[in-house]
Symmetry: C2
Subunit: 290 residues, 2 copies
Amino acid sequence: MSVLFPRLLVAGVGLVGGSLAAAVRRAKLAGEVVGLGRSQENLDTALARGHVDRVSRDPETAAADVDAIVLGAPLGECAPLAARLRARARPGTLLTDVGSAKARLVPALEDAWRGVGPVVGAHPIAGREDSGAKAADPKLFENRLCILTPTTATDRAALARVRALWEGVGARVEELAPDVHDEILARVSHLPHLVAYALSAAIRGRSVGSHALVDYTGTGFQDTTRIAKSPPAMWRDIAFANASALGAALGEFRAALGRIEAALAAGDAAGLEAALAEAQAVRLALKEER
Amino acid sequence: MSVLFPRLLVAGVGLVGGSLAAAVRRAKLAGEVVGLGRSQENLDTALARGHVDRVSRDPETAAADVDAIVLGAPLGECAPLAARLRARARPGTLLTDVGSAKARLVPALEDAWRGVGPVVGAHPIAGREDSGAKAADPKLFENRLCILTPTTATDRAALARVRALWEGVGARVEELAPDVHDEILARVSHLPHLVAYALSAAIRGRSVGSHALVDYTGTGFQDTTRIAKSPPAMWRDIAFANASALGAALGEFRAALGRIEAALAAGDAAGLEAALAEAQAVRLALKEER
């Protein structure tokens, strides 16, 4: 694989940014990978593990001598961070990101980066409930989908370079308009997160007699709520960034649950079994990722 | 471990019954383990894997020469099956089960077995989404909880033997009244199953433009819906057997989801983050089982 970027800045070396930095170094896709962050401890971890060549805590200085920047910061911090990074960024510097909601973020990044260089929205679908540089893994993106979200403003050469970056770390790349991306992710990712949080919250502090419910959860409950271990501030940002589509997805979920609940309440055995069987068929047909 | 039962009949050698039969044989808790079933293919699998000593498809004959019977059949079939088994059962034959809902089943089994021998309700919390003898595993119950549900009618010596059976296959045993068991399981098991089915059903046949949602599910969606792979008829029976507690649990879940949804709709960032953080704390505190 040839070098795509002489010098790449990864702003935010948490799970996704750190994993990308590590994968880029391993595949030699950049001459140098610089990690930007606020937590010295997290930066030290990334450096100690060899996921970056060097680290910085100063956005202005870090942006001054790179060819491309990947925003790996929490969703709500990406646009403000881009505004700081532009102060000393070199003309032509490519800006991309890994955010989980795109319809608001991509135009915001295009605004923040106007006059500096090209912007390409990207979202690797490879989350985990763990977070931070300690959870980073250069193999995180292998065989996973990465969605690029070009707009009418997107530079085609920059789009091709970002595609090469993700394909270079093992991802399958697909392009979707930002709003299409958000409508899809609302249903396959953002909704399940809120549902998992709600399932956990529903047993909070609750007992039957002297028996606390938390002492009786088995693997079923634990699988179903695993993603409720994800960072709350991150999912707060994602939920607000995709509030409209997520609201619609919540309505669709409530309708599906309501159909099951109505069959149960009505004593409709055939109706309940049919609803469960249709749901099972959907789940059995999914191509498993692990 | 000494032999608890000279001859044990396991009626239904699917995932749970088959795993118990295999574990009993491995720990030499019974002189002989007989597998009863309707599907010759499933029985052949259990026999070929050495999970049972011999097999039968005839309930009356199979019940005639055993000391104890474990009902491993689907919940809705347990009481009718007990009524058939009693025809030729020897006086004193112990009857126990592995059903996921107890408040209706245990009295029904006590009725069906009246005048034959003692009845002890049991529920090992060790399900998996796979089913059938091919999924059976003698280690399924190791370090898992098995809840026994004695009633005022329960014979203490029989209860002790069933406790020894489950402890002998590696389970931790706890005793709860049937209705307490059902109130707990409604929330930690039955509710998550219905929610997982509803999440799967909510994406059924749905597309955004030409993009089918099923093509975009990642590990988050797949973890959250894993238990929706479970057999629909089995979960139909469990849901109806515990309809009242499950209805209450659904209400609690809707309230928890409603709080999240309301914060999202109101643009209440602090409220949403607080709700997610409380839910995360519950999930992080669970003792993981794998």
